[in-house]
């Protein structure tokens, strides 16, 4: 799975959980995903982590939680590890 696919899918997954359901393409890549950043709360967070793991077949350890400090970091992390049909 290439980086662009990962990014597009992550944007959609996150936008769907954000208050106000914004346009996925408009989400900035440099602010935290939770709380004061993009506004995801703890329950959306749990759903998010589960969905990312399922969809991209990755595992997110508690050591990796800093990837939620920005969408950019999350894309980086997933793109590096995601296994997908085109790999």
């Amino acid at each position: 799975m290439n980086r662009e696919t990962v990014e597009n899918q992550l944007r959609e997954v996150i936008a769907g959980r954000m208050p106000g359901r914004p346009d996925p393409a408009s989400i900035p890549t440099d602010i935290p995903i939770f709380q004061k950043g993009l506004g995801l709360d703890s329950m959306s967070g749990l759903e998010l982590i589960t969905e990312i793991e399922k969809r991209f077949d990755v595992y997110i350890d508690d050591d990796d939680f800093d990837i939620f400090d920005s969408l950019g970091a999350l894309i980086e992390f997933v793109a590096e590890r995601a296994k997908g049909p085109d790999q």
Binding site: Q35, K36, D41, S42, M43, G45, L46
Partner: protein
């Protein structure tokens, strides 16, 4: 071995003698109502898995047993499938379920497919309540009312399913109120229970003994905080605990527990919002939280991160992580659908100093609370 939280019964030749759809005059087994009643009084939920036409449930009602059971599964599916469904609805482990059937084939089939489930021969129904795994370890109001809480939860889930719109709107409609406060002596029994039973929302997995908990309670630099929750459907009781170790300018959350009966309602976030606020009021600059990964508690590590704690890599080692919250940023936000309320004062003198009651002191209970 985990204590039983749910007993799942077969119908024909188990609760009554005979086959109800062939003989409408079937009679209850002698003493079965007493057994069902005692199990319910212990806060153990009861359900039904029966290979039968759904109308067999009419007999449960006709024979006056309907109030004992939740989520009955009466159909022709394999029993293990129905048991698995019931356990999922209740959000408990398979090892917390017991299955009673007169038919050895059914018992063996369940034992083979779901080895964690305890299977009991219906012929021994009078002895079920004497089994060690059927005893109440901590006799608290929350333990005794567990069965009712599952029913309240069913109503909530039903409403949630029917609710069209955003989850936040649904959660707001529940009118949840959280009552956090410093624990008093009469809370110790419930604290011990939560320490023993909580797996998923348990920040360290450390099972402190009752004596250790009492020692923390008496210690000057430790403090237990406890939170109760209510909503329009009922009272969840005391369902969150934090053990705080106080240092100058820093509070340390040694263990944070939230009962899984309130999972997915945001209580953990609300509790941390309260704790950050209290630590700040007492003049602290940081709130630290210990986190030890177990095979089931990753969500509490994630909760810390989401609420705004950051992993302190210098203080963390291979066995335990330390997450730190900087209090100069203000207290962590509370979900908009939970109102933090001051604890009612009358709870303190009422329950008296009868802290840790252990009616039939059994050991080793674990599982979701």
């Amino acid at each position: 071995m985990a204590n039983i939280k749910c007993v799942i019964w077969d119908l024909d030749n188990t609760l009554w003698d005979g086959i109800c759809l062939e003989d409408p005059q079937v009679r209850l087994k002698p003493g079965i109502t007493d057994v069902l009643g005692e199990i319910s009084r212990r806060g153990i939920v009861q359900s039904i898995a029966s290979k039968n036409e759904p109308e067999a449930l009419r007999f449960v009602e006709k024979l006056g047993l309907a109030d004992y059971f939740v989520y009955p599964h009466v159909n022709w599916n394999p029993k293990e499938e129905n048991i698995r469904r019931i356990v999922e609805i209740l959000n408990i482990g398979l090892d917390a379920a017991a299955f009673v059937d007169d038919n050895p084939f059914e018992r063996e089939s369940v034992a083979a497919m779901l080895p964690e489930v305890r299977t009991y021969d219906a012929a021994d129904y009078m002895k079920i309540i004497d089994r060690p795994e059927m005893q109440l370890k901590y006799d608290t109001p929350e333990a005794r009312s567990r069965g009712r809480m599952y029913v309240d939860e069913a109503a909530r889930q039903q409403q949630e399913k029917e609710f069209e719109g955003r989850r936040e709107t649904f959660l707001l409609s529940l009118g949840m109120k959280a009552f956090p406060c410093i624990a008093v002596e009469s809370d110790l029994g419930r604290i011990c229970e939560l320490v023993t039973r909580t797996n998923q929302f348990n920040s360290t997995g450390i099972r402190y003994s009752d004596d250790e908990i009492r020692a923390f309670y008496k210690s000057d630099d430790h403090e237990f905080h406890i939170v109760s929750l209510t909503d329009k459907y009922g009272d969840y009781g005391r369902c969150g605990v934090a053990l705080i170790r106080k240092e100058p300018a820093v509070w340390n959350i040694e263990i944070l527990l939230v009962s899984c009966r309130v999972a997915g309602r945001g209580l953990g976030t609300a509790f941390l919002s309260y704790l950050t606020g209290e630590a700040r009021k007492s003049g602290c600059t940081h709130l630290r939280a210990k986190y030890i990964k177990t095979d089931r508690n990753r969500q509490i590590g994630l909760l810390y991160k989401i609420v705004g704690f950051d992993k302190d890599r210098e203080m963390s080692d291979e066995t335990a992580s330390v997450f730190t919250y900087r209090l100069d940023d203000g207290p962590a936000p509370c979900p908009e659908w939970i109102r933090l309320e001051p604890c009612a004062d009358e709870r303190q003198p009422d329950r008296g100093p009868d802290a840790i009651k252990r009616p039939r002191g059994e050991n080793g209970e674990q599982g979701n609370s």
